[in-house]
Amino acid sequence: MQESATLNNSFKSEEYFINMGPQHPATHGVLRLLLTIDGEIIKKVEPDLGYIHRSIEKMCERDSYQQIVHLTDRMDYLSSHINNEAVCLTVENALELEIPDRVKVIRTIIGELTRIASHCLWWGVMGMDVGALTTYFYGFRDREMINDIFEETCGARLTMNYNVPGGLMWDIHPNFIKRVKDFVAHFKTKIPEYNKLLTGNIIFQKRTKGVGVLSKEDAISFGVSGPVARGSGYSCDVRKYHPYSALDKVTFNEVLEADGDTFARYNVRIRELWESLSIIEQLIDNIPDGEHRVKTNAVIKLPKGEFYQKVETARGELGVYIISTGTKNPYRMKFRSPGFSNLSALNHMAVGGKIGDLVATMATLDLVIPDIDR
């Protein structure tokens, strides 16, 4: 009796803590996860945030509305154009400005290009996180073409600041349409390659299927949005339910997958690439003529009140909430960032899995840390 007790005791497993991050290849930046692990099995994941918190919300309270736009570039830098658009839409709606159709269409095209670029990067990084390093470069190759388009038209590759309240900073570059068409043609041949290289791969499927499952009810309760939520079969595309810019003029399908596991989330993003391409194709030939910008006052003062605008970034639903007291600065500015809510579901998804599962799950959450930290 005594002997077996000591034997059991000597084989007693013990939970231990491990610090994943803030410098860790899989956390894509400075996310710190405090893992409680039993052997390889994860018992608890506790994110520790704030390593690049810049308090953008506080900075907004002292900035004018034009200046706020460029700060949003620095939140979710992979969908910077959509972030800019969100702020501009909020301001424009509050001012009740009539935005020309040309601006709306261009914003939508660039927004969808941003989404493709972000998903390309995500795809590459997803591959890298599960160990296939080559995908990274293939993803970047295609993203580079979009970045060139952005650089030619907007002047910057990442933090574009192309939107201003009232329209766009400049008109599109004369080469824009041709380049976008080239890209669409090029990219259509590359998505099947993505599928052959990674999606169909047996190892990848084994790594992702049934991993990090998030049910639809949990998805709603955790407030996740974007491809993560749609992978759980929760229809939440802001572009469908609250269409903004020119998105009410185009037809596209909301991509839904029922399984809620890592592979479903992966598939949602891959299929979204096709939808984004289709939106671009519908719009690129029909950019209406007109002004690229509506004249606004040099000092924009929003009427007193509260304004909320949601848009669909590549990561999910970005909300911009402005409380205005009628001055040239917002009284309170809140960004409801998609990554923050998505991250809150990580603990729920990762518990019970292995370290490798956590990495795969985190990869499909597509976290951008400045977006979480703001």
Partner: protein
């Protein structure tokens, strides 16, 4: 449901005891009626010029009201998409943006307290699990504590951080540039 229909429905949950007796025959215009039949001690509709219906709740009713919003099959606000802490100067408060994934209607619930030293509200993270992180964020930046929160500690800032940066009276002469 439209904002107006929502307003009427929610009003009916908190009937005005003084108004109740004579509410039966009154069939006046909706706006006036709903304002009248609601108990002003519990609930208040505010005009903020926004696209959503705004409700101001008393802190002590917050949890019960939120629970009702979630569980009632007509409202079914199951998606808390934004939780914002606000410093209104004299008061501290929280703004909840809710959406129903079934009916696709929205509501904004606000709660305020004048206690700036030790502001406390009930946590809603047992109703919407996303609130757990958002409430930690609010605690971090506004110093609002939440009852029954499972893990209320600073999320972004270090535990020894002094003050609550997003409050309007926060001063940091070294790091803050004021224009």
């Amino acid at each position: 449901m439209t904002n107006e229909a929502l307003r009427i429905l929610i009003s009916s949950w908190f009937p005005n005891p003084e108004f109740e007796t004579k509410s039966e025959p009154v069939e006046v215009a909706e706006g006036a009626a709903s304002k009248a039949i609601i108990n002003p001690n519990l609930l208040e509709f505010t005009e903020e010029g926004s696209q959503f219906l705004n409700v101001l709740v008393k802190p002590e009713n917050l949890h019960e009201f939120m629970n009702k919003l979630k569980t009632n099959s007509d409202t079914c606000f199951d998606y808390l998409f934004c939780l914002t802490g606000v410093d209104w100067g004299a008061e501290l408060g929280i703004v909840y943006h809710l959406e129903s994934t079934q009916h696709r209607h929205n509501i904004v619930v606000k709660v305020k307290t004048e206690d700036r030293e030790n502001p406390t509200f009930d946590s809603v993270c047992d109703i919407w699990r996303t609130a757990e992180f958002h409430e930690r964020e609010v605690f971090d930046f506004f110093g609002i504590t939440f009852n029954n929160h499972p893990n209320l500690k600073r999320l972004f800032l270090t535990p020894e951080w002094d003050g609550f940066p997003l409050r309007k009276d926060y001063v940091d002469e070294i790091n803050m540039v004021i224009k």
